[in-house]
Amino acid sequence: MIRMYRSIPLLMAVLVWLTACSPPPELVRPDFPLPEDVLITEAPPGQYGGIMVLSESQEPKHFNPLVRGDAYTSTAISRVLASLTGFDPMTQAVTPELARDWALSEDGLSWIFHLRRGVRWSDGEPFTADDVIFTFDALFDERYPNRYAQQYTIADEPLGYEKIDDHTVRFTTADVYAPFLTDIGYISILPRHKLMDAFEAGTLQEQWTIQTAIDQPAEIVATGPFRVFSYRPGERLVYAPNPHYWRADEARQRLPYVDFLVVRFVASSSTDTVLFATGQTDATGVPVSDVVWVREAGDTYDFTVHDQGLDSSIRFFWFNMNPGTDEAGVPFVEPHKLRWFQDRRFRQAMLYGLNRPGLVRAVYFGRGEPLDSVISPANRKWHNPEVSHYPYNPVRARELLLEAGFSYRDDGRLLGPAGNPVDFELMTSEGSALITAIATTLKENMADLGIEVRLNYMDFAAMISRVSDTYRYEASLMAFTGGGDPSGGKAIYRSDGQLHVWHPNQATPATEWEARVDEIMDLQERTLDEAQRVALVHEMQEILAEQLPLMLLVVPNAYVGIKNRWHNVQVPPMGSIVWNLYELWTDDVER
């Protein structure tokens, strides 16, 4: 008995040694010749080796771009499958990927894409124009509902595509379409030689599921920097370099440098932060509320937390300005309240009366800024800094209200032009400390203006249904992720958009300024000149900042952390810090 007790620590030690100290595996890199049109990166050459460990709070649901998935699924797919074009977050420019270069015809309606010659799928099959044609055949097929079919329907006409030769494809659009190069990069090109049978059998959407990744990872052939090496559901996804990747460094070493990329799945995003702060993962986004304590661990675990500047998401509250009625003829919003909500001065007064700098200090510990434009400063290319600003100024708020016909009762309560006391109900989603803090501040600031705000927390799904189906609410508070081309926000800006939340799905624009915004959104898509497009989008931001259909709140700074052992790191103004995973390398392979 005693001998057994003694052997327990020994056994534990053996276990720990066996599990923790096994040497990193040797990766065999086959010596395939580089493709004729190899892309040489600008980053200084590094050396092979090392394992990068990342963590995600959700798993990919499948590896099939034609199935609607979440952001985690898209990230996983983008590591394995390349597109025709890419996006460089440093320069905010469209970059060549599977397409080597492109040319636009004189009339602006047809694009010739030259594909990279000599590129092969990870199983050694050549990549050709047939793969591109196959991908577009699949996404326009009725049997496979997917988001791209509408995305690539321009001016009510599906995109035209034809093969000119093995390495040239021509796309034609019904109208001039400025965001074409960005948009064409959204769809990953699928391998015809692997998926043609399933396409004909009508089972394309059931291909490349997680089951495939578990049983036959090699079936998911890659053109991206990595291929799936192994997948253990609930635990981790391991990627190995694609032996046929088409990017190399100046020393003509084929990228990527890392031997393995391991993505661990954790139960929540806070675990994700903890893992990074205790040195167990290599890189992560750090939430603004955790920055201070995570930074403190930086010396111990040899990592740096970088400040990316303001985040690209936007958070706002708004009033229901829908003048319609339901089937029974009951108006969505009481008519006297609708009159207040539709008055621009009332909305402006709200923003003057809201202490947004205080909000930044309270909820983001000063690490953020009030937002005035509907496009966040993080989106450098499109953000307009010159829009109307609304500093905290309760005096100005009261002036505006009086100007708009409101008046004050003796007890300080604000009365509407028709004499009703001003109050409204703010509907927002439950379960977030941040939203609660914002809503409470709003309630207090409005009370200072003599307005009573009632807070109504509800389930997110129920809230969405009120906003987009039943229109039965007075005011609400929400956030959208941002970034990318402004055309991606069409559903918000255009008056017939479903996320034009204050008055969605309009048949014809209800106001002049909404008509102008619609016009701008159409015009900018047909304007090829970049500077003119930017000017148009700037005008749209000015209109929205002046009219304030969305009263923008505050935006936090974004932070990303990465271990110091990685070289070639470039911190982008928005998005993941490991966007250029293919050129990151380390000389410290022992973890």
Binding site: L18, P145, A149, G234, T278
Partner: protein, 341 residues
Amino acid sequence: MLSFIIRRCLTAVPLLLAIALLVFLLMYLAPGDFLTAARADRDTPRELVAQLEREFGLDEPWYVQYALWLGNLWPIGWNENAAHWWNRFEIDMDLGFSWSYKVPVVDLLATRIPATLLLSFTSIVFAWSIAIPLGVLAAIHKDSLFDRISALLAYAALSIPEFFLAVLAVFFAARSGWFPTGGLTSIEYEFLSPVGKFLDIAYHLILPTVVLGASMIAGMMRIMRANFLDYLRAEFVNTARAKGLPEGVVMFKHVLRNAINPLITAFGFAFSSLLSGALLVENIMNYPGLGQLVYDALLKQDQFVVMASVMMGALMLMLGNLLADLLLAWSDPRIRLESAA
């Protein structure tokens, strides 16, 4: 015996249908559906949402959805194209497709079941092998210091919720560094030798097993002790002692044999929790079992995954009870199934 089993299985069918109906109704009444996220997404076209709604049947009223689901579940199909009339019947149970994973629900659950079964198995074995000897010892040495300490610990273990114990365990693992903070395998797992793989999994199982087993041990130990005490005072014990049987034989052949019955019943319930019991603990300890999958499916309202897992839990409960009854009949010759049913 056989007719008992058949009768039990037949009564299970309406019960399962009723459970399914209830779950379906609850899912329907809950706000939102699987496509809520898509509706709030700024770059998912509404035509696609409408298309998916039709494809998933979400635009149908709930009773039509339920009927469709039942229709697919109905095990006996009719295949017109078969060569002979006698093999036109097909046995095919379809629990549906997962909307987010695009794989049959059965396959999806199958990827997670082994891990959950493994953990349930180790924690039950752990609990039984500790609870029974402890309970017996506490009964034999009634009112001794050991009895009192074990009672105190048992009440403590019973009063700590499992999820809290799991949080403590993760904290302990993170602080001490003696145990992994979660998962079933370490990062190097793929590259280990078979022995290394086995040890790696064993090492990862220690903490979850202890957490899940702790409250089981406490409960079972108290039951065991109380029962053992009851039977210690039984007349047949006196008889056995009077016959001059050695104390060991009296305790383990006569008393234990009788006292173990309620634990066998308890095993029936434990069996039902084999697949569904550890949902919270699995989530907290990052254990790659069914827990995470089902929790996520519930949040996203991936209907058929939720349906299948609830049905599976109910089925396991019924099977567990049946198994417990059969085991009881086997271990206790006084129980006859025919008359009991």
